[in-house]
C-alpha cells in the first residue's frame, strides 16, 4: 500500500516535471524577447535595464542552464516575478488559492452528491416522466456554456430578484466578523458554486444513471433476486455500489475541467481566486503569472487524480495494492 502510494507520487512528480519543462518552453515561445517583455511589463525599456534584466534572470545563459535554473526555482516554489503586479508569482497565487479551493470544493461536493442522487432517481424510475425530466435537464446543463450559466444566474437571482450578491468574495466595506462573515461569504459563494456545480451535476447524473442501468443487467443482480432480497436492498447493495465505481473514475478525470470552470466562473463573479488571477494575467499579457498559475493548476489536478486513484483502489477489491 505504502509502496503503491510512493510509486504514484513518483509518477505524479515526473509528470509535474514534464509540465514544468513544457512551461519553460512556452515562456520562451511567448512573443518578444523575454527581457524586453519583462522590461515592458515593468514600464521601462531602455537598453541598460534590459541588459540588467537579462543578466539577473540568466537570460544570457545557454538554454539548458536556463532550464536547470527554472526547474530548480520551481522546486523551491519560486515561480518567477510578476512585473505588472510587482510581486512574486508564488505569493500572488498563494493569496488567491484559498478562495479557489473553497469554490471548487463546494461546487464539487454539491455536484457529486446531487448528481449521484438524481442519477439514482432517474435509473430507478427509468422510462417514467421523472426519468425523462432528469435526463433532459441533465442533457441541457451538460450543453450549456458555463460562463453563460453564470451570467444568467446573475441576471435571474441578482438583477431581477435581487436575492444574492453577484460580485466578489464578501461585501466590500462591511467588515463582518465571526459568524456574520461566514454567512456573508456563503451568500457570495452560492451563485458561483451553483454555476460550476450545475455542469458537473449534469455529468454525474448522466454517468450514474447509465452506470446503474448497465449494472442492473449483470448476472449477480439476478443472483440477488434469486435470493429473495427486497428490491431496495438489491439496488443499494448490489447495483449502486458497483455502479459508483466508474463515477469515481470520472470524478478524478474531471479535475482538469473543474479548473477550467473556475477560470470562467471566477471571471464572471469577480471571485478572487486563481482562476480570476489567470484572467487578469491574460488581460495584462503577464506571461510569468499566466504560466505560474498554469503550473499550480496542473499540480492541483495531479494531486486530485492521485487521491481519486487511491479511493478507487480502496473501494474496488479487484485491484490490489501490489507491494
Amino acid at each position: 500500500m505504502l509502496a503503491f502510494i510512493a510509486q504514484r507520487i513518483m509518477k505524479a512528480i515526473v509528470v509535474l516535471l514534464a509540465i514544468v519543462v513544457l512551461n519553460f518552453f512556452l515562456i520562451r515561445l511567448a512573443p518578444g524577447d523575454p527581457a524586453v517583455v519583462m522590461a515592458g511589463e515593468a514600464g521601462a525599456s531602455d537598453q541598460l535595464f534590459v541588459a540588467q534584466l537579462r543578466e539577473k534572470f540568466g537570460l544570457d545563459q545557454p538554454l539548458p542552464v536556463q532550464l536547470y535554473r527554472y526547474v530548480k526555482g520551481i522546486a523551491t516554489l519560486d515561480l518567477g516575478f510578476s512585473f505588472r503586479q510587482q510581486a512574486p508569482v508564488s505569493q500572488l497565487i498563494l493569496e488567491r488559492l484559498p478562495a479557489t479551493l473553497l469554490l471548487t470544493g463546494t461546487a464539487f461536493a454539491i455536484s457529486l452528491l446531487s448528481g449521484v442522487l438524481f442519477g439514482i432517481l432517474a435509473a430507478r424510475r427509468a422510462g417514467t416522466w421523472a426519468d425523462t425530466a432528469i435526463t433532459i435537464l441533465a442533457l441541457i446543463f451538460y450543453a450549456t456554456p458555463l460562463f453563460w450559466v453564470a451570467l444568467m444566474a446573475i441576471l435571474l437571482f441578482s438583477v431581477t430578484m435581487d436575492w444574492l450578491p453577484s460580485f466578489g468574495y464578501e461585501t466590500v466595506g462591511a467588515n463582518y466578523t465571526g459568524f456574520a462573515h461566514v454567512l456573508d461569504v456563503g451568500a457570495h459563494l452560492i451563485l458561483p458554486a451553483m454555476t460550476i456545480g450545475l455542469f458537473f451535476m449534469a455529468t454525474y447524473t448522466r454517468m450514474t444513471r447509465a452506470s446503474m442501468l448497465e449494472v442492473k443487467r449483470l448476472d449477480f443482480v439476478k443472483t440477488a433476486r434469486a435470493k429473495g432480497l427486497r428490491d431496495a436492498v438489491i439496488q443499494r447493495r448490489h447495483v449502486l455500489r458497483n455502479a459508483l465505481l466508474p463515477v469515481v473514475t470520472l470524478a478524478g478525470l474531471q479535475a482538469g475541467t473543474l479548473v477550467g470552470g473556475a477560470v470562467l466562473t471566477e471571471t464572471v463573479f469577480a471571485w478572487p481566486g486563481i482562476g480570476r488571477l489567470m484572467y487578469e494575467a491574460l488581460l495584462q499579457r503577464d506571461y510569468n503569472l499566466l504560466l505560474g498559475v498554469f503550473v499550480v493548476c496542473s499540480a492541483m489536478v495531479l494531486a486530485f487524480n492521485l487521491i481519486t486513484d487511491l479511493i478507487y483502489r480502496s473501494v474496488d477489491p479487484r485491484i490490489e495494492f501490489a507491494a
Binding site: 510509486q7 449477480f220 435470493k227 432480497l229 427486497r230 447493495r237 458497483n242 474496488d316 501490489a322
Partner: protein
C-alpha cells in the same frame, strides 16, 4: 419410478418471445414435474428454451417475455400468478438457483461470506453473527478448501470451481426444496466439473431436494439424471427416466443428439510409419511475464515448458488439456502468433522460427489455422468472398482466380457459392466455422492447426464439422494439430494424443493406447472425469453401493 408426490408441476407452459425474434414462443406447451430427491435434466441445444424454463420457475423472466399460457404449480399455488411480495418469501427460501458463470453471478465487491449471509438476511433469519457462522459451515459442507479464508475472500480471489462451490453453498443455505441449476458446470474444466457434479448429487441426496438441472451435455445427463426432458425449439420431444431416454430413445431428435456425442472409444487407425515429418517442434519454452515495475513484483506463468513433438505427414496430433494448461499457447507458438523464448519449430525443411518479415509472410501459407469462436474469427465488416480470397491475393494470386477458388472452396466445405457476397453475421455458428475452414484451405496449406475448432458448436453441428475436417484432411493429404479440451472429440479425430498439464506434455501416445491404458496419473484423472464415461445405470449402482 418414484412414488413421492411432485413438488413442482409445470403444465402446458407457453412463453412468448418479443416480436422480431426468430420464433413466436420461447417455450411452447412444456409440461414436466420435479420430484423430491430426484434430479431432472432438461437437455437441449442452444436456443431450445431450456434456460427460459428455469427462469420462469424462479420468477426471473425478463419483462419482455410474455407468459402466455399454462401454469407452474409449487405446493399447489400457481407461480405465474404470484405477486412480487409472495415471490420474495419463496425465492431463496424454498427454491434456489445456481448459474452457469460463477464469476459474473457473484457480486465482485462483496466477500463470499457476506453474500452467503445475505441469504439469511433476505428472509430475516438469524443474527449477523450466526449468519457468518452458518456461512462458514456451508462453505465447509461444499468442500471449499480453507473455508476460514474463503469466507473472507472476494470472488476474484477464488478459482472457477471454488466460486461455483460457493454459489452452491449460497443456494443451499436455507435448505430449499427445489434447486434449479442452469448449466452449472459448463464454464468449468472437466475434472472440476466431475467434482461439482458429484457435490450436487451428494447434497441433493442428503437433503432430498428436487433438482432441475439444465445442460446441453448428454455425458452430464448420463452421470446425474434420474429423469430427462429433451427440448427442441421450445417443445418437449421426449421425456422419461434417464435409462429409458439414454438407452432407448424414441424421438429421432433425441437419437440424433445421442448419436452425435462422440464415443470414448478411438476408432481403429492404421499406424503411420515411414513418413516424413510435416512439423517438428523442438524444446519450445514460453513464459508470460506480467506486471513488473518499480515497486511491483512480476507475475510469471510458464505456458510452455520444453515442448517436443512432431507431426507426420497425413497425421492428426491431438493436444488435450484443461484451461490454462498451455495448449493454446503451443498452437500459437507453432503458428508464430507469439514468439517462443526458446526452441524451434520446423515446417517441413524450413526453420519456421528463424525466418522473419517477408519470408515469414510467404511461408505462413504452408501452415494455416482454424479458430475456436465462429463469431470472433470472421471480420464482421468483410464479405465472405473477400475473407477467403484475401489470403491468396496477399500471396500474389490474381484476384479473379482467387475469387473463383473461394467459390470452389465454399462448395467444398458444403456452402452455397452465393455466400460469397454475404457478411458473416448472416450465417449460423456451424456455417461460419465452415467459412473459417475454407479460409484456411485457400492458401493450400500442408498443415492445419485447429484450436478448439468445434468447442463452441452444438453437439450435432460439432459432429458435422468434425466429419468435414476428417474428410478434407484425407482428401487433401493434410497434417493436423488438433487442440481440444474434449477427450471424446480427441478420441474420434486424432492418431496420437499429447496430454498437457501446466505447460508440459505429460504423456504422448497413440490415441487407442492412451484411452486403453493411460500411464500418467493426470491422464487417468482426466479420463475418469469425462462425464458419461460409463453407462448411467452402472455408475449409479456403484455409487449406491458406496452410500
Amino acid at each position: 419410478m418414484s412414488e413421492s408426490k411432485p413438488i413442482v408441476v409445470i403444465k402446458d407452459l407457453k412463453l412468448a418471445l418479443p416480436s422480431g425474434a426468430d420464433r413466436a414462443y420461447a417455450v411452447d406447451g412444456v409440461s414436466f414435474d420435479l420430484i423430491p430427491g430426484k434430479i431432472l435434466c432438461v437437455v437441449g441445444e442452444s436456443g431450445s428454451g431450456k434456460s427460459m424454463c428455469a427462469h420462469a420457475l424462479m420468477g426471473l423472466l425478463p419483462d419482455t417475455i410474455g407468459r402466455e399460457a399454462g401454469e407452474i404449480l409449487f405446493e399447489g399455488q400457481n407461480l405465474l400468478q404470484l405477486d412480487e411480495h409472495k415471490w420474495l418469501g419463496l425465492r431463496g427460501r424454498h427454491m434456489a438457483m445456481v448459474f452457469q458463470e460463477p464469476m459474473t453471478a457473484l457480486n465482485p465487491l462483496m466477500r463470499i461470506g457476506d453474500q452467503i449471509a445475505e441469504m439469511f438476511e433476505a428472509h430475516g433469519l438469524l443474527t449477523p453473527k450466526d449468519r457468518r457462522h452458518k456461512a462458514l459451515n456451508l462453505l465447509r459442507e461444499v468442500g471449499l478448501p480453507n473455508p476460514e479464508r474463503s469466507v473472507r475472500a472476494y470472488p476474484h480471489q477464488l478459482s472457477g470451481g471454488q466460486r461455483q462451490r460457493a454459489m452452491i453453498a449460497m443456494a443451499l443455505a436455507l435448505e430449499p426444496a427445489v434447486l434449479v441449476a442452469d448449466e452449472p458446470t459448463t464454464a468449468l474444466d472437466v475434472t472440476t466439473q466431475a467434482q461439482i457434479l458429484k457435490l450436487i448429487r451428494d447434497l441433493q441426496r442428503r437433503r432430498n431436494m428436487a433438482v432441475m438441472f439444465i445442460t446441453h451435455d448428454f455425458g452430464v445427463v448420463a452421470d446425474i439424471a434420474d429423469r430427462v426432458v429433451v427440448l427442441q425449439h421450445g417443445k418437449v420431444v421426449e421425456q422419461g427416466s434417464a435409462d429409458d431416454v439414454l438407452q432407448l430413445p424414441q424421438h429421432p431428435y433425441t437419437r440424433a443428439l445421442l448419436a452425435a456425442v462422440p464415443s470414448m472409444q478411438p476408432p481403429q487407425r492404421a499406424p503411420l510409419t515411414d513418413r516424413p515429418k510435416a512439423v517438428e517442434v523442438i524444446g519450445l519454452d514460453k513464459t508470460y511475464v506480467s506486471g513488473g515495475g518499480w515497486f511491483r513484483p512480476e507475475r510469471r506463468v510458464q505456458a510452455a515448458k520444453a515442448i517436443n513433438f512432431n507431426i507426420l505427414q497425413g497425421e492428426t496430433l491431438g493436444l488435450v488439456g484443461e484451461s490454462g494448461s498451455g495448449k493454446s499457447s503451443v498452437a500459437r507458438l507453432v503458428m508464430r502468433l507469439i514468439e517462443p523464448d526458446q526452441g524451434t519449430v520446423r515446417v517441413g525443411d524450413t526453420n519456421f522460427t528463424a525466418i522473419g518479415g517477408k519470408e515469414l509472410r510467404k511461408e505462413r501459407s504452408r501452415i494455416q489455422m482454424i479458430f475456436q469462436d465462429p463469431f470472433a474469427s470472421l471480420n464482421p465488416r468483410r464479405r465472405v468472398g473477400n475473407i477467403i480470397a484475401d489470403g491468396p491475393i496477399a500471396h500474389g494470386i490474381d484476384p479473379d482466380v482467387a475469387r473463383q477458388r473461394a467459390r470452389d472452396l465454399l462448395g467444398m466445405v458444403g456452402l452455397n457459392a452465393n455466400a460469397m457476397d454475404r457478411f458473416p453475421h448472416e450465417f449460423s455458428g456451424g456455417q461460419r466455422q465452415r467459412i473459417g475452414i475454407a479460409r484456411a484451405l485457400a492458401l493450400e496449406p500442408e498443415i492445419l492447426v485447429a484450436d478448439e475448432a468445434v468447442s463452441a458448436l452444438d453437439v450435432s453441428v460439432q459432429a458435422q464439422v468434425l466429419n468435414l475436417l476428417e474428410d478434407l484432411k484425407a482428401r487433401l493429404g493434410l497434417s493436423m494439430l488438433f487442440i481440444t479440451h474434449d477427450l471424446r472429440v480427441a478420441a474420434q479425430i486424432c492418431d496420437r494424443i499429447a496430454v498437457m498439464q501446466r505447460g508440459e506434455i505429460v504423456e504422448l501416445r497413440p490415441a487407442a493406447a492412451l484411452f486403453l491404458a493411460p500411464e500418467h496419473p493426470y491422464t487417468r484423472e482426466l479420463l475418469a472425469a469425462v462425464p458419461g464415461r460409463t453407462s448411467p445405470s452402472t455408475e449409479r449402482m456403484s455409487q449406491e453401493e458406496i452410500a
